[in-house]
Amino acid sequence: MRSFIHHSNTSKIIIHILTILALIVSIGLSVSYGSTKIDFATVWQAVFQFNPDLTSHQVIQELRLPRAVSAAFVGAFLAVSGAIMQGMTRNPLASPSIMGVTDGAAFALVLMLAFAPGISSMGLIASSFVGAGIAVALVFMIGSFSASGLTPVKLALAGVAIGTMLRSVSSIISLHFNLEKEMGFWLAGGLDGTSWSSVQILMISGAIGILLALSISKSITVLSLGEDMATGLGQNNLLIKILGIISILILTGAAVSIAGAVGFVGLIVPHITRFIIGTDYRWIIPTSILFGALLLVLSDLVSRLVNAPFETPVGAITSLIGVPFFLYLARGSGGGK
């Protein structure tokens, strides 16, 4: 651990600058590759000298650019949610998909589409916040009733149980109301169909959720040392936890309503971030934003190339990346108890 403590701020800033550059390059790649490849020069022109008469410019401006930007936002949101969860619960396996949060959000979305088909996109997002909230509440309830508290294993199993139950109900509703396609999309995750209006929604939710996360980042660092320690230092743990959960719900809810259940991003990114940047959440949260964005932009790119011209759900790609990581964690700290 010593090497992390001795990280100077300069080296952290250098890491951030490099990640931002990598992010810009991968967004460029993501825009340029697709069913038809568009060369970089055209991409550059389409962004900075937009000509509405050219089809390639239209494709870039209306389809590929909003898609890449949405991917970056969604990845960032999921990563930050995972970081806050892991910091608050001190549980290495905590993350939106493991804890059934994404299933809860998808459940609320299917419910709304079935019973209130004319709902606005803002209403959809609000309902996915509520759904995510219900799932979190259920998982924590199981934890607090449980004989020996919420150990990492119990958290994972409770998440599996709650997630399966919510998904079962969603499947029944979607089968009855002919919403299988929407349901399949939310279960597998995908970024096709994103437009500038999705980016707008993501920006608004991000402005609230991420600012909230950053504002409590210092307190989360203290909380991650242990609740007794935090109380001893005069911190109002309950308030911090409530604010943290609100920010998780906003970020996960927005991400799921745009991109569906994209698993494992929220699990792996915070771990990688902690490994590189140390244990201070004032750094972990901004770095998670960048790493999460980078991971999802690249996964989205892979999801389009792996079975071209058809798209593979991006959730399947992130699972394939995330599973080895989960297994590593399960063999290590998670399975010790």
């Binding site: 998904r167 499947s171 089968l175 009855h176 058809f310 399947a316 599973v323 399975g335 108890k337």
Partner: protein, 340 residues
């Protein structure tokens, strides 16, 4: 035979008879219910070859094979769960949670993917090969999970966590390959992931029947080993059981049961987990009693779930795996709260 054992035997037969009676009643209810209602009297008449042609078609070609499959799959998964819980000494083990079901499903999808040009998936030859493909997938999955959970021995909790991870990985591969086969069709992939008796015909019944008829008696025959293993590895080897080789053999039986069930019914979750618990509650810890009771309970639960799924929102058919999850996940949560 001592009096306690005689009393237990009597209780076993009472419970088995009761369950058999319930299965019989539900069997007729399931046969009579559906989009086309056939009165129970007509069901009996048709079974005795005195029904109309239309009733015969509905019963013999559609409902009967589906119900028989549900019974076979339910029994297979339940016994598989009993064995897995016994050999891992882990109350939360189940072929679904450990990822064995998804491994079998993936293998079937791969089988269809690579051989779909040579073989018609509904032809009888490929129906008889499919359980074998599922079995191979289930064995590979079991080996992967066992190897990954191995760290100077297999800790039960690590086994479950590794199972959850491997399960997620197999699901991802399954989705990718399924979409490669038919990008427009999410449905088949969800069948393998949630469980659905998707191809109810007589060929499947005959393909599955020998597996259950051979494997469940073998499990029953090995009940003594399972009882001894429950006492812990040291006691078991002290009592003269070759623990590791017995465990491997029983693991193979459990995996084969799960694999064959998945080939016909997809990845039905939680059934193999919950049924053994209920059977233990009724019969106590001895496996020669738990195994037969579990087999019948599993068959009953799956048949009831199948009937609910077909009729709850008719004409919409809900995959049976979803109903099973809904019915048994709350019990799983209860177990989770109780276990330390």
């Amino acid at each position: 035979m001592n009096p306690i054992e005689a009393k237990k035997k009597k209780k076993l037969w009472t419970v088995l008879l009761l369950l058999a009676a319930m299965i019989l009643v539900m069997f007729f209810i399931s046969l009579s219910m559906g989009v086309i209602n056939i009165a129970p009297v007509d069901v009996v008449k048709t079974l005795l070859n005195q029904g109309t042609a239309r009733q015969e078609l509905v019963l013999f070609d559609f409902r009967l094979p589906g119900i028989l499959l549900a019974l076979l799959i339910g029994a297979g998964l339940a016994v598989s769960g009993v064995i897995l819980q016994g050999i891992t000494q882990n109350e939360l083990a189940d072929p679904g949670i450990l990822g064995i079901n998804t491994g079998a499903g993936l293998s079937v999808v791969l089988f269809l993917y690579f051989l779909k040009n040579q073989l018609d998936p509904t032809s009888s030859l490929s129906i008889f090969i499919m359980p074998v493909a599922a079995l191979l997938g289930a064995i590979v999955a079991a080996i992967i999970i066992y190897a990954l959970a191995w760290k100077k021995g297999v800790n039960p909790i690590r086994l479950v966590l590794v199972g959850i991870g491997v399960n997620a990985g197999f699901s991802a591969f399954l989705t990718i390959f399924q979409l490669k086969m038919d990008p427009q069709d999410f449905r088949q992939a969800t069948v393998w992931l949630t469980g659905d008796i998707w191809n109810a015909n007589w060929n499947f019944v005959f393909a599955l029947l020998p597996w259950m008829l051979i494997l469940i008696p073998i499990a029953l025959h090995k009940a003594h080993s399972l009882n001894v293993m429950n006492l812990g590895d040291e006691v078991a080897s002290g009592l003269g059981t070759a623990v590791e080789s017995e465990r491997r053999f029983l693991l193979f039986v459990a995996v084969a049961l799960a694999g064959a069930s998945v080939a016909a019914g997809g990845g039905i979750a939680f059934l193999g987990l919950v049924i053994p618990h209920i059977a233990r509650k009724i019969m106590g810890p001895l496996h020669q009693y738990i195994i037969p009771v579990s087999a019948l309970l599993g068959a009953l639960l799956l048949m009831v779930s199948d009937t609910i799924g077909k009729n709850l929102l008719a004409p919409t058919e809900i995959p049976v795996g979803i109903i099973v999850s809904l019915l048994s996940a709350p019990y799983f949560v209860y177990l989770l709260i109780r276990t330390k």
